[in-house]
Amino acid sequence: MNKAIEIIDLIKDFGKIRAVDGTSFDVSEGEIFGLIGPNGAGKTTILRIISTLLQVTSGEVKVFDYDVTKDASEVRKLISYLPEDAGAYKNLTGKSYLTFIAKFFGNGKKVSEIVEKGVKIASLEERINDKVDTYSKGMMRRLLVGRALMIDPKLAILDEPTSGLDVINAQEVRHIIKDSTKRGTTVLLSSHNMLEVEFLCDTIALINEGKIVEEGKPQELKKKYNATNIEEVFIGVVQ
């Protein structure tokens, strides 16, 4: 299977603080790959580097063979990034916001098709025509998931996609993410919700203090650490 992401010996420093410490892993095309770890482990930093937002201190990061530093503009054509605490332009309606984003990926009829898909994924019904300012946290997150996946990106980078959502909304978002892979999207997501990751991901990597401490299929890892869920695996690995 082709590599959607290839990371080799990635190091990222913020001044004297080392956020990512020699991380290496691959994500295969078409899979859902989960980065799991506690807060401050370096998950978001890795996702931001892959999204071309942060620069690499050392090491190599490739997205579909494009180097994120040298070929940043090519990488941006292939990805869709959903930051953990992302918002939308408050004075736009949900639909206007989706249209604004869609226009970067096509013209005329293509824009309408993309927006239609976004509206469907967000499933905000008639509220899609209301100003973003009036949305609840769950509605905002669904709009943003719709925005991230409506363009059928080759790689969706989702940082804590269900963060702050109630059980029902979180469940809906998980199904949306799972469905996106059927349309050919590779998903890299981060979460500290171990159960969510177990449900969603084909492969997971456990990250702690900027280092990948374990990687594999959820079932294999559970077996290896004789655990009933990924949470126990993580505790086993870290301790």
Binding site: F14, R48, S51, T52, L53, L54, Q55, S73, R76, K77, I79, S80, Y81, L82, P83, D85, A86, G87, A88, Y89, K90, I101, F104, F105, R147
Partner: protein
């Protein structure tokens, strides 16, 4: 530590951030510079005005006038040649050459007011540039009063006893000789005529600059910047798009403001006895074009500068604070130029005003009235280079992670204070 102290300390830590302190320090610095300029003017007022005096009259009344002038002014030329006198005054940076005409005294006794020819050497067109000429004007008035007093005391019956003299004024300013007008009249009309561009410029900068900085602050506060930066769009297009969008909104706001301001000014019914066209101080189409170019490039410079400041904005609140230095940079040249001509400013203020890109369109109109094209063109070249450098910096910032991570920080200062 009491609960109250604890809350006060927390509030201070929240409010005393570099993004709130630095703009205030900059404002204080700029006001300090303005205060320094005002102090210089006060010194100027205390000094005796430097003049030249040609007395062609041998009568007693002209002696009264010369006595007053000798006492309260520093007379550096007392010859008989106007050309020579003017040269001397120009060389010594004097204010005026006064010529008391022949038969001055005789004429007054014969009911004809005595003529005092005044050649004003005007150095600047700011309100405060005419202070020294105002002092000389006051001395001429005092001399006239003394002559009246002498006439009344000596029981001289003359029809002109209350107004025994009249002035015949010629003002020489930037190689233009303007007859029948005083420096204060010229500076008054020039300030009112050339104030429009500085006010427009200041309003545009305040409105558009504020919009750009706030836009960046809101992008960060609403967490939309990260998404925008991962879209397949060139960073330079994001920069230009943000600048252009903010410029249009800011211009629109400035136009609405200016319409209101225009009505306000017209309602005051300001008029002047002096017509600039009569003095040869008019602008042609080419001049207006140059003013327009200067305004446009200065606007670009302002917006680029605001974008750079905007990258340091962590949220809408800090964006508002970061707008303060821009407002100060727009207000300072407007006030300075209104008060003093660039040529008559102290060297340090000259450097500051020249370095502020927004000063140039504010000074352009007045410079063009006196055919000082070189100054205007150098100013345009300077602000063009400034804009290019600012644009380059902002595109560079947007091309790196600094656009997301930049924030004002003063680590050492912070440790001491907090």
């Amino acid at each position: 530590m009491s609960d109250l102290t604890n809350i006060i300390m927390k509030e201070m830590k929240e409010l005393l951030t570099p993004s709130t302190i630095i703009p205030i320090i900059l404002m204080a610095f700029l006001f300090g510079a303005m205060g320094n300029m005002m102090g210089g003017i006060e010194e100027e007022l205390k000094e005796k005005p430097v003049i030249g005096l040609i007395n062609e009259d041998s009568g007693d009344l002209s002696k009264i006038a010369t006595n007053i002038l000798n006492e309260h002014a520093e007379i550096i030329y007392e010859g008989s040649n106007v050309e020579e006198g003017l040269e001397k005054i120009k060389e010594e940076e004097g204010t005026a050459l006064l010529v008391i005409s022949a038969n001055f005294s005789e004429g007054i006794y014969a009911n004809n007011p005595g003529e005092i020819e005044v050649y004003w050497i005007m150095r600047g067109a700011g309100v405060m540039d005419s202070i020294s000429s105002g002092v000389v004007d006051f001395l001429i008035g005092a001399a006239e009063q003394e002559i009246s007093k002498a006439l009344i005391e000596n029981d001289v019956h003359s029809d002109v006893v209350l107004n025994p003299t009249f002035k015949n004024e010629t003002t020489i300013f930037k190689n233009k000789e303007m007859k029948g007008v005083s420096p204060s009249q010229i500076s008054g009309i020039l300030v009112s005529q050339s104030l429009l561009v500085p006010i427009i410029m200041m309003m545009i900068i305040m409105m558009t600059g504020g919009t750009v900085i706030s836009s960046m602050g809101m992008e960060k506060e609403n967490k939309t910047l990260e998404t925008l930066l991962t879209l397949p769009v060139k960073r330079s297009e994001i920069v230009i798009g943000k600048i252009a969008g903010s410029a249009i909104v800011g211009l629109l706001m400035a136009v609405i403001y200016m319409v209101g301001f225009g009505y306000y000014m017209s309602s005051l019914g300001m008029s002047s006895e002096v017509n600039l066209a009569d003095l040869g101080l008019t602008l042609g189409m080419n001049d207006y074009f140059l003013v327009g170019v200067s305004v446009f490039i200065a606007l670009l410079a302002a917006l680029s500068l605001c974008m750079i400041l905007g990258t340091f904005a962590e949220n809408y609140k800090s964006a508002q604070m970061l707008n303060l230095p821009i407002v100060a940079l727009a207000v300072l040249p407007m006030f300075v130029i209104m008060m003093k001509d660039f040529d008559t400013l102290p060297l340090i203020l000259k450097i500051i005003i020249f370095a502020i890109p927004f000063s140039h369109p504010m000074m352009a109109m007045r410079s063009l009235m006196f055919d000082n094209y070189l100054f205007v063109l150098v100013g345009i070249a300077y602000i063009a280079i400034f804009s290019v450098v600012m644009m380059w910096i902002i595109v560079k910032i947007f091309s790196t992670e600094r656009v997301l991570t930049a924030k004002l920080s003063l680590p050492k200062f912070k440790r001491k204070i907090l």
